[in-house]
């Protein structure tokens, strides 16, 4: 398939579950597929020159880690523009962003305290905002894929 697909993932260096599922369903891959991980470093600001780490994993498959400081406002399209300047063939105009909308379910545990904490987490997770609202991703280009995660 022509075009660029950006898969937002929390797991660095490996092929995100999302891409595996996507390819299994569609039986096709985008011309350029990017697994993108946003990482907030333990410093307040990350300089622009340290913003991105770019790795080519296979033909047409890239991994980008975007670094921000904990007081910075993350801007994914701007970071992708930087990646493009550094040789990653991104077509920013028609890039589509994929993110997971995880439905977290929590199974019974032995420890009562852990169970209550995880229940509180699932409640908060259901109500927390999606990546699209935090990373300046154009909402009309954002596709969410739902799945269930057991913790």
């Amino acid at each position: 398939m022509p075009g660029t697909a950006v898969f937002l993932t929390r797991v660095a260096t490996t092929t995100p579950f999302l891409i595996v599922e996507h390819v299994a369903q569609m039986r096709a891959m985008y011309e350029t597929a990017i697994a993108l991980t946003v990482k907030f470093d333990y410093i307040p600001r990350v300089a622009p020159r340290d913003r991105i780490e770019l790795a080519k994993l296979a033909d047409g498959f890239w991994h980008i880690t975007v670094h921000f400081g904990f007081v910075q406002i993350p801007d994914i399209p701007a970071a992708l523009r930087q990646a493009k300047d550094r040789g990653c063939p991104i077509n920013l105009e028609d890039a589509i962003y994929f993110g997971a909308r995880d439905a977290v379910v929590c199974y019974k545990r032995r420890s009562w305290l852990v169970h209550v904490g995880l229940r509180l987490f699932t409640l908060m997770f259901r109500n927390s905002v999606r990546a699209v609202d935090l990373f300046k991703i154009p909402p009309e280009k954002f596709v969410e894929i739902g799945r269930q995660i057991e913790i």
């Binding site: 929390r10 797991v11 490996t14 092929t15 995100p16 579950f17 891409i19 595996v20 907030f40 333990y42 410093i43 307040p44 600001r45 990350v46 300089a47 622009p48 994993l57 296979a58 498959f61 921000f68 400081g69 904990f70 007081v71 910075q72 406002i73 995880d102 977290v104 904490g117 995880l118 509180l120 987490f121 699932t122 908060m124 997770f125 109500n127 927390s128 905002v129 999606r130 609202d133 935090l134 995660i149 057991e150 913790i151």
Partner: protein, 473 residues
């Protein structure tokens, strides 16, 4: 934000780019010193009621001596000289201090992480009281002039707070420009009022002698400790100095503290105490008693604006603390809106805004007066200050490579003072001091559950992921 505080998107440059220009030092007045600067409105009143209403000269001088030395040791020395040296690439605040210790949850020294997070969570605890107590105390000045407004003070305070929280979504960068001249006028006027009070009873200057304070603390058993709970209200804004270091800069904060804020505060507290030397049974808010009767209304107006500025600083501070905690992975993702193109200080977090509004207004209505709220105020921040000292000791040893001796002596001195205030504040738990502590603990539980829930989920993701080699084969 004034133009000379340029935002350079480079951690090293940001640190050196900040020079102490007069404009930068003045900018600190509008952001950093709202809380510390409006404390004279309610501190002495709380001290007087802690002594049970009897305020003979030795108690008056003792209290002033304690306020004086507390502002010197904790704010001028601990925060201005030592804590503010601990900057994480220019950024301050207890979360930045926590990450400076290099402690990592998975590599031991979890206690430092727990202390940093709990300290940060507690800042929210007292943050819901600051707007309520400040605005109420300013409006209560009306009661000095007339009885007419007495039944309406609470509703006026609620109206002001409602308005303040309602305008947050529009962004406050434009209004904030007017804060500096107002705060400058405020500090000039409280200094002048203080001088007027001192000139009537110059013997109040004797309180500089710490023996008056020690005599008050040791001579009256438990009630001496209770006085410390009131004195602490003069310092609740101290932690904010450090938290705001990132967007004002260390030197401008220091310059304006030593040059403007500290002198104005000391003169004003001395002036208020001087009044009690003349009339130990004086009632009503001593701050407004300093003013000639014709000036009470304009003074209430100015005080109200100053307390709105102080409340604004707390609200903005909570927004940026939330963003930091969120991005460090200790807080659930929340909708954040930028209200201006600047980096931060101009963000709006609806959930935090509305939660704070409901709690602040609830406290205003249920406590009904600044004097009663003073009983609940300070328990959380005094705990945070204690935790800051503990983290500071670790930074001294590991980042600054101080030998054990000097690090122990310095932090031991601060810890002794912090611990005295912490203990005094524990006496307030029954009067309402449990509220900020409970709210802070709730925030802490949220932070911890979020972090570990997320880790559990991340772990699950790793299990579900393939390596690229297998996939592309």
């Amino acid at each position: 934000m004034p133009a000379d505080i340029v935002h350079v998107d480079d951690p090293v440059l940001t640190r050196v780019a900040r020079k102490t220009t007069p404009a930068a030092a003045l900018a600190a007045l509008g952001i950093v010193y709202g809380d510390l600067g409006t404390s004279p409105l309610y501190t002495l009143q709380a001290v007087v009621s802690a002594t049970g209403g009897h305020f003979p000269p030795e108690a008056a001088l003792g209290s002033l001596s304690l306020i004086f030395w507390a502002l010197i040791i904790t704010i001028s020395v601990k925060y201005c000289l030592f804590v503010m040296r601990a900057d994480n690439h220019g950024e301050g605040g207890i979360l930045a201090l926590m990450s400076m210790t290099g402690a990592n949850w998975y590599e031991g020294r979890r206690i430092l992480i727990v202390m940093g997070l709990f300290g940060a969570a507690l800042i929210y605890g007292d943050g819901i009281i600051t707007p309520a107590i400040s605005v109420l105390s300013a409006l209560e000045g009306l009661n000095v002039a007339t009885e007419v407004f007495k039944p309406h003070v609470v509703s006026m305070a609620v109206a002001i707070l409602l308005g303040l929280f309602a305008v947050q979504s529009r962004g406050t960068a434009q209004i904030a420009k007017a804060f500096v001249p107002v705060m400058l006028l405020w500090f000039a006027i409280i200094a002048a009022l203080g001088v007027a009070g001192i000139s009537r009873y110059p013997e109040v200057i004797a309180a500089v002698d710490p023996r008056y304070g020690i005599a008050l603390l040791t001579g009256h058993g438990w009630s001496g400790i209770a006085v410390l709970g009131g004195v602490f209200l003069a310092m609740t804004g101290g932690e904010a100095m450090y938290a705001d270091m990132g967007h004002i800069g260390r030197n401008p904060i220091r310059t304006s503290w030593y040059g403007i804020v500290l002198p104005a505060l000391l003169l004003n507290y001395a002036g208020q105490v001087a009044l009690f030397l003349g009339d130990p049974a004086m009632d009503g808010n001593p701050f407004f008693r300093l003013a000639p009767s014709w000036s009470v209304y304009p003074l209430v107006g100015l005080a109200t604006i100053a307390t709105i500025i102080a409340s604004q600083a707390i609200i903005t501070g909570s927004f940026s603390l939330t963003r930091q905690a969120m991005q460090l992975g200790w807080f659930p993702g929340m909708r954040i809106r930028q209200t201006s193109s600047e980096e931060y200080g101009q963000i709006y977090v609806p959930f935090v805004n509305w939660t704070m509004m409901v709690l602040t207004i609830g406290l205003t209505v249920s406590f009904g007066s600044s004097d009663r709220l003073a009983g609940a105020y300070g328990t959380a921040v005094s705990t945070t200050m204690l935790l800051t000292t503990a983290l500071l000791y670790n930074v001294m040893r590991e980042r600054w490579h101080w030998p054990a001796g000097p690090a122990l002596i310095t932090s031991g001195l601060f810890l002794a003072v912090d611990f005295a205030f912490f203990a005094a504040n524990l006496f307030k738990i029954k009067e309402g001091g449990w509220i900020p502590l409970a709210f802070g603990t709730l925030v802490f539980i949220i932070m911890v559950s979020w972090h570990f829930g997320f880790e559990a989920m991340r772990h699950r993701h790793t299990v579900l992921t393939e390596t690229p080699d297998e996939f592309f084969r």
